[in-house]
């Protein structure tokens, strides 16, 4: 007893314990969301719900119809997300912008910044990437690179402005980014009404199609090179955060700005750098939307809603991925899968789109409230404490 162990737990077991907990909370969240989604499906379907009035008289009818409803929907979800190479390709296509924008939010999170502005940054990314894509003639490959670079630059500037404002004036990044989203959206709408962007012969706010030279080359179905660019971006962010001096400063400022500043790091400089890189990543997400192949094999022309809500979905992706690059890739794929699978649920099982969105929201809700998940899934709790006890005995 005199030889008391210094550390209360061995590191490897501890590492496994925390990892296990993170993954199992997320997995439980997905399962719970699916369960709640199933209940909603049953309740929302008048026919199925009506059958529950006969639950005791004819249980087979009620349970059978409920099972049919839910299993059709979820097998469609699975089929649409991972059921075939083409389905997988569609998942990756939906995931690519989410991963990039998720990285933009996650990176900022790590520096203690709440980047609500990935939306505006992505919008700028889409504007510039699309513009270079349709207005400029360049040889293949070079055209794509220039278009992507333009999108990245657009996002970087839009994000960098936020970082600069925060560093120099102390303006809160949440307020600024929200406002910048509106500005970006308004500017896009305006640009689409100008001759510069409006498609000749059209009066609708829609741009010309980008030249094929600027599109991400298609590999299979909707799987295009952009997805691998997104993975590379995740790798780059991992390197940046875990292996570079910039990332060291970003993490330090995020974890303890006082200690960082006492150690000679400049919080202002780090804020500007972080927001610029985050903006660049969101800009890449916008470029993905503008230059990535749609189901027709060509990119979608620039419209006001081209990037959709990628900047806001990115917040949930980053949250789900715990602001770690690998986690964000997984979360992006999960949401990409929900998007692709959700489409199949609609077209095959005739489940409304809102259910897919509900599932996404529930997953995030359950992840954000691990306490709730832990309570709802007692086995998880038991398992966690067992790991801890085992660690203590080692």
């Amino acid at each position: 007893m005199t030889n008391h162990t210094v550390s209360p737990r061995p590191t490897f077991a501890g590492y496994l314990a925390t990892r296990w907990r993170d993954w199992s909370v997320t997995a439980s969240a997905v399962v719970l969301a699916l369960v709640v989604g199933a209940v909603v499906m049953i309740v929302a379907d008048a026919e199925v719900a009506a059958n529950f009035a006969y639950l005791f008289t004819a249980p087979g009818l009620a349970l059978g119809s409920a099972w049919a409803k839910v299993s059709t929907a979820y097998s469609a979800l699975l089929l649409g997300a991972v059921g075939s190479p083409l389905a997988l390709a569609q998942t990756t296509a939906a995931a690519a912008p989410l991963i990039c924008a998720g990285l933009a939010v996650g990176l900022a999170f790590r520096a203690g910044l709440f980047n609500i502005g990935a939306q505006g940054q992505a919008i700028w990314g889409s504007i510039l990437a699309a513009y270079v894509g349709f207005a400029v003639q360049l040889p293949p490959v070079i055209h794509l690179i220039v278009a992507v670079a333009a999108g990245v630059l657009g996002g970087a500037v839009w994000g960098g402005i936020v970082g600069w404002l925060k560093a120099k004036t102390g303006a809160h990044e949440v307020i600024v980014t929200i406002m910048m989203n509106y500005v970006a959206n308004g500017l896009l709408a305006w640009l689409l009404s100008t001759a510069l962007f409006m498609r000749p012969g059209r009066q609708d706010p829609i741009s010309p199609e980008v030249h094929p030279t600027a599109a991400f080359p298609v590999i299979l179905g909707q799987l295009h090179v952009g997805f691998f660019v997104a993975l590379a971006a995740a790798g780059a962010v991992w390197w940046l955060l875990d292996r570079s001096t910039i990332g060291f400063a970003i993490r330090a400022v995020g974890a303890n700005p006082n200690a960082a500043s006492t150690s000679g790091m400049s919080a202002a400089r780090t804020t500007i750098i972080t927001m610029t890189i985050a903006g660049a990543l969101a800009g890449l997400a916008g470029a993905q939307s503008a230059l990535g192949a749609s189901a027709t094999g060509t990119p979608v022309p620039l419209t006001v809603g081209l990037v959709g809500t990628v900047g806001f979905d990115a917040i949930t992706v980053a949250l789900l991925g715990r602001s770690k690059p690998l986690g964000i890739v997984m979360a992006g794929l999960l949401f990409g899968g929900l998007s692709a699978g959700g489409l199949a649920m609609q077209s095959i099982a005739q489940t409304p789109l809102t259910l897919t969105m509900l599932l996404q929201a529930l997953i995030v809700l359950f992840v954000a409230a691990p306490q709730l998940v832990s309570t709802l899934v007692p086995i998880l709790k038991a398992r966690t404490s067992r790991v801890a006890v085992a660690g203590g005995q080692a």
Binding site: V6, R243, S244, A252, N258, A259, T262
Partner: protein, 520 residues
Amino acid sequence: MSAQTTGLQLKAITKKFGSFVANDAVDLDVRPGEIHCLLGENGAGKSTLMNVLYGLYQPDGGEITIDGSRQHFANPKQAMAAGIGMVHQHFMLVDVFTVAENMILGREPGLVVDMKAARTRVQELSARYNLPVDPDATIEALPVGIQQRVEILKALANDAKFLIFDEPTAVLTPQEIDELMIVMQKLRDEGKGIVFITHKLREVRAIADRITVLRRGKIVGSAEPGASEAELAELMVGRAVDLSVDKAPARVGEVRLRVADLSVANPIGAVVVDSISFDVAGGEILCIAGVQGNGQSELADALLGNTPVVSGSINLDGADITHAKPRETILAGVGFVPEDRQHDGFIGSFTIAENLVLNRFDRPPFAKGLSLDLAAIHANAEQLRDEFDIRTPDVTNRGSSLSGGNAQKVVLARELSRELSLLIASQPTRGVYVGAIEFLHKRIVEERDKGTAVILVSTELEEVEALADRVLVMYRGKVVGIVASDTPRDVMGLMMAGIPYAEALAVSQADDASAGKDHS
């Protein structure tokens, strides 16, 4: 002991956090009319035990009895109702409220706040325990000692029979400490049972009726009030500790740091360092003594470059660093041990290895261009771990896994592991157990002997006496005087209250003459 039925008893209290056992079958009893000192190094489990007693934590084992009847406290409210009062180390007071408002905080009877009754209550309690406070004064306007008095009155307002004082002296001046001691003795004489938590041996010896020593969550023994500091220290750390620092006389070299007419303002514009001038030579330790909050922290921050200088100049080795940023002063060879290491010196979520390069991570040998050299960072950490005896099984553990003393060793190791021209160490041993204090002191003296100019900011006179070559006493942002380190403690105490040296010396001598005995 189990036969005893009066007073407060903790029996075999066990409290675990995950696999960490903070309290391991701890027995403790407190009788009415005694001061029971709970002595232990930081992280020994004293605060955990008291939080169990106060209903903030639920124990995993053991029981609490009061006068023989078993108690269960699900929350502090129940503990208060059972007659337990707590004087927190960090006051649980609302700064912008008045004393009377703070008194009724949390026990507002209905929708209508009866301020008149609250005021009367304050006056009653003040009179009864002879703790004068103005019921209408706002807390933030009061000196720390008086704030603590309000905290004590709050605890007493519930007719507490047992009072827990959690490290009450950490924030007080020597004079205030003496006054607190008198208050505690008076409360004891009134029949209150008092638990006094501290790691300061001098205070324990001055006031305790009984002493229980806690180490690593266990009771390791009890001692009589007459026990010597060395005996107590040995109980605390498990071996004999030499409190005095074995240091050679300073070999004072050239002046390295020159501070002239330096003024610093706080963020709201108030002058907190007021035209200060002093020099520090290589090879000497200048202690900056003073009660917390008299401008020492801001002075240290200004020297580092973390707080803008309003006027005056700072000169290091002939170079003007008045307006240099921390990055530049660090490059110029300023080593900085911040006062609040959790807040300013340390990143809990970073690994120990990362913490050890916090101000050098972007330069060789720890970085190649933009890329961190993890191997070099790891090797550096392993070397410093051995050199500074940082107790951790793995330098890739998080910084937050370290105890206070080991965390401070990390900070000090980081600063001392490079060439320094000036070391600024603020409260380097605050919250550090005795064993580590000795080690930290030794390293600071070694740094001095390398020819570095050392500034040590400390509010603990023992530390000042042990380390200083010269002592600069600060009061309200000004220099009261720069005196030799062997200046009597009571003179220094008076200077810390703003009384100039000559006057303080006179007062002290008059006191000694009339009392005919010395204080320490």
